[in-house]
């Protein structure tokens, strides 16, 4: 094997793509932690739900086999979505929008009925409730959808996003899919960062995160701020779930578990509770995993990723960018 510059570059691009997915999921963990000091264990299942909702939407909008199977009124719409660049862009945009909204609402619903009643209970109670929700969602997908791994493609086996090379740089071909993931995740991260730091609602979120009771006394509607965090986090997780399905090619009811743990790790590396930290941690973890797999051994990728976690925690216990909610007196 010859380790050339182009090999290093290709592995780095693999890593950035993976890191973009981790960062999107990590934001959900870190937002909830920042505001409620609670780890939302059901977040990995919302990522999974995103994958399934996305597949459902894609099939309805662009799989001719569905239109033939009785839903013939979909056929003209499918003809549009399956034709040319405009149709493709519209298909992707509609898919992400619907998946993000549906899963975002699921997040709000879960917060309302599984976490809010326990807000003043001991810290462990909502944590256990979150594990319960996680198990419930996994089993719901297992029983109501399928125990099988489902291909992320049309019934005839063609992918919704064709595996095409977008451009070649230094002999490295970068695929359309990778560009889509990297650009979308960076845009969403930048948007969220601006949203939280510049807008009035963002300010309310930061205030709630610093001191929930004081923020409430100053007129911030705590319940809607928390509900908003539970909309945005899962919505971003859903985007990652759809990308995960498209990029790797399948969905399964327990697909959220490993990416969930990795993204949580990314949030911890960056400093849990800190939005920029989650993004940094996500990209860092993705790149480290990819390079470890490429230059050392695929069997050791997780070992090396978790060694990095341990090293970060030994030297910077609060994570790379520290904890945003450390000012409680």
């Amino acid at each position: 094997m010859n380790f050339t510059l182009s090999y290093l570059l290709e592995q780095t691009i693999n890593g950035i793509t993976l890191g973009g997915l981790y960062a999107l999921v990590a934001l959900g963990y870190t937002m909830v932690y920042g505001i409620l000091l609670m780890i939302n264990f059901a977040h990995s299942e919302l990522f999974m739900a995103g994958g399934y909702v996305g597949l459902g939407v894609l099939k309805l909008l662009a799989d001719p086999a569905i239109a033939k199977g009785g839903l013939s009124f979909l056929a003209p719409m499918q003809a549009f979505f399956n034709s040319g660049t405009a149709g493709f862009v519209a298909l992707i945009a509609v898919t992400f929008l619907i998946s993000a909204i549906v899963v975002g609402l699921m997040g709000v619903f879960i917060e309302r009925f599984a976490y809010r009643p326990l807000r003043h209970a001991p810290r462990l109670a909502p944590l256990i409730s979150a594990i319960g929700v996680s198990i419930f969602l996994q089993n719901a997908a297992l029983l109501w959808i399928s125990s099988k791994q489902l291909p992320y493609s049309r019934a005839d086996g063609t992918s919704f996003v064709p595996a095409k090379t977008a451009f070649t740089v230094f002999g490295v071909s970068v695929s359309t899919m990778q560009i889509m993931i990297i650009v979308t995740s960076l845009l969403l991260l930048a948007f969220l960062d601006t949203f939280v730091s510049k807008t009035r609602i963002g300010k309310a979120m930061r205030a709630t995160s610093q001191d929930r009771e004081a923020a409430g006394l100053m007129g911030v509607n705590i319940n809607s701020v928390i509900a908003l965090a539970f909309f945005i986090g899962p919505a971003l997780g859903a985007v990652a779930g759809v990308f995960n399905g498209m990029y790797y090619g399948s969905v399964k009811f327990n697909m959220g578990f490993i990416p969930g743990i990795k993204s949580f790790t990314a949030a911890v590396i960056g400093g849990i509770g800190n939005l920029r930290g989650a993004m940094l941690g996500g990209f860092l973890l993705g790149i480290i995993e990819s390079l470890a797999s490429g230059f050392i051994s695929n069997a050791y990728r997780d070992v090396i990723a978790f060694i990095v976690l341990i090293l970060v925690l030994v030297f910077r216990p609060g994570g790379l960018l520290g904890e945003a909610v450390a000012e409680k007196v």
Binding site: M1, N14, S147, S153, G249, K252, N298, A299
Partner: protein, 402 residues
């Protein structure tokens, strides 16, 4: 401890002893009274297979094969005359050794259960077989191909499929000599089955004169092979060999082709399933190869009869890799139950004595099954060592080896 305490404790022990005597007493009267002539004895066969996680498509096929055999047996005069009603119970091991151990414990504690048809995964059997041995339960696997499973002194263990030391080299010979592949990158899924098969394959491929350009491990539930594909590509192989199961292997195949490497992926019996083509997509799967134990069903000695009965029982279902083997494995157990019932009487079949007789009878198995002649050597391995290599052509698995 004072005298008062001792008295209190001995009173408690006495009470417990009486309760225990009453309970066991009731139990034994029920057994002696319950099996008079004219009544039927229910005998259970356990099915240990992955049903919600792991190679689900293969696991569900195992259930269908077994249920078909049991349904047919229940309709025969021989079983009816003996006063036996056979039934099956499913145990979902998720392809995971720990869960498989729990399934085994559950099965052993089932009083009417005398034999187990399963498991799919060699790693699961390694744990489960010891538990079955303690319970005197015979285990007949349709699918375990790890070589050492019959070398561990478990006289209750048998399998109707041949092993990786036959399958791996056969597939390697085909890849090198018939398909003309000279340089292969070998990947396994870190399970007992995947590592064993990949090792056997690579050994023979190198012996034939082929070059192994690299060797890597993945996890059996992995879906992300992007970094691995970049690595594989840098070694310029003309074939990728995958030791593992279809659900990860098919995604590896898809990602290999998406990564710009136009070479086929070859795998073993765990990947020989239509799900491989569905998950990878017909376009990416085209040219991929998989070896499987035995002949294609339509070339099997009794394949036509089996398919007729199968499609009548499960309309719309297509047999996966092990349906026919599971059917034969279930029949091995059923025939042994009949032998034991004739020797000892139907009501003794589920006793320890009966279970031991069943193990002995399985060892003497000799009949023409769907997959060929079913007989075992002294260690419990089948004497039928046929392997077939299949390739994906126009979205279907087609046999390609002679």
């Amino acid at each position: 401890m004072g005298m008062g305490n001792v008295r209190k404790y001995s009173a408690l022990i006495a009470v417990l002893a009486i309760v225990a005597m009453v309970v066991t007493g009731c139990g034994s009267t029920a057994t002696t009274g319950g099996t008079s002539a004219g009544k039927t004895v229910t005998v259970t066969i356990g099915i240990g297979a992955p049903l919600t996680d792991g190679a689900v498509a293969l696991g569900k096929g195992m259930v269908r094969g077994t249920n078909l055999a049991v349904k047919q047996a229940n309709a025969t005069k021989e079983i009816k005359d003996l006063g036996i009603v056979l039934q099956t119970v499913e145990g979902d091991d998720k392809g995971d050794p720990t869960t498989g151990g729990n399934v085994a414990t559950q099965f052993v504690s089932n009083p009417s259960l005398v034999g187990v048809m399963g498991t799919l995964n060699s790693g699961v059997t390694r744990v489960a077989v010891k538990i079955y041995k303690q319970g005197n339960i015979v285990q007949v696997s349709p699918a375990n191909t790890a070589v050492d499973l019959t070398q561990m002194g478990n006289e209750n263990y048998f399998r109707v499929c041949t092993v990786d030391s036959v399958q791996g080299p056969f597939a390697a010979d085909y890849a090198f000599k018939d398909a003309g592949k000279k340089a292969a990158f070998v990947v396994d899924d870190s399970t007992v089955y995947g590592v064993g098969l990949a090792d056997e394959w690579a050994k023979q491929f190198e012996k034939d004169g082929g070059k192994v350009t690299g060797r890597e491990k993945t996890g059996d539930k992995d879906t992300d092979f992007k970094a691995l594909v970049t690595k594989i590509k840098s070694t310029n192989p003309d074939l990728v060999y995958y030791g593992g199961i279809y659900n990860s292997g098919a995604l590896l195949s898809k990602q290999v082709k998406e990564g710009g490497l136009a070479v086929p992926v070859m795998s073993g019996d765990g990947s020989f399933d239509p799900e491989w083509i569905k998950l990878a997509g017909a376009e990416a799967a085209e040219g991929d190869m998989a070896s499987n134990v035995g002949l294609p069903i339509d070339l099997m000695p009794k394949g036509q009869d089996f398919m007729a009965a199968y499609t009548a029982e499960f309309p719309g279902e297509v047999p996966a890799a092990y349906d026919a083997y599971s059917y034969d494995a279930a029949n091995v157990i059923i025939k042994a139950i009949i032998v034991a019932a004739k020797d000892l009487g139907a009501d003794k079949v589920t006793s320890t004595e009966g279970k031991k007789a069943i193990i002995a009878a399985v060892g003497k198995t000799n009949f023409e099954g769907v997959t060929g002649k079913v007989t075992f050597d002294s260690k419990g391995d089948t004497l039928n060592k046929t392997i077939t290599v299949y390739a994906v052509k126009s979205g279907k698995w087609v046999p390609v080896s002679k």
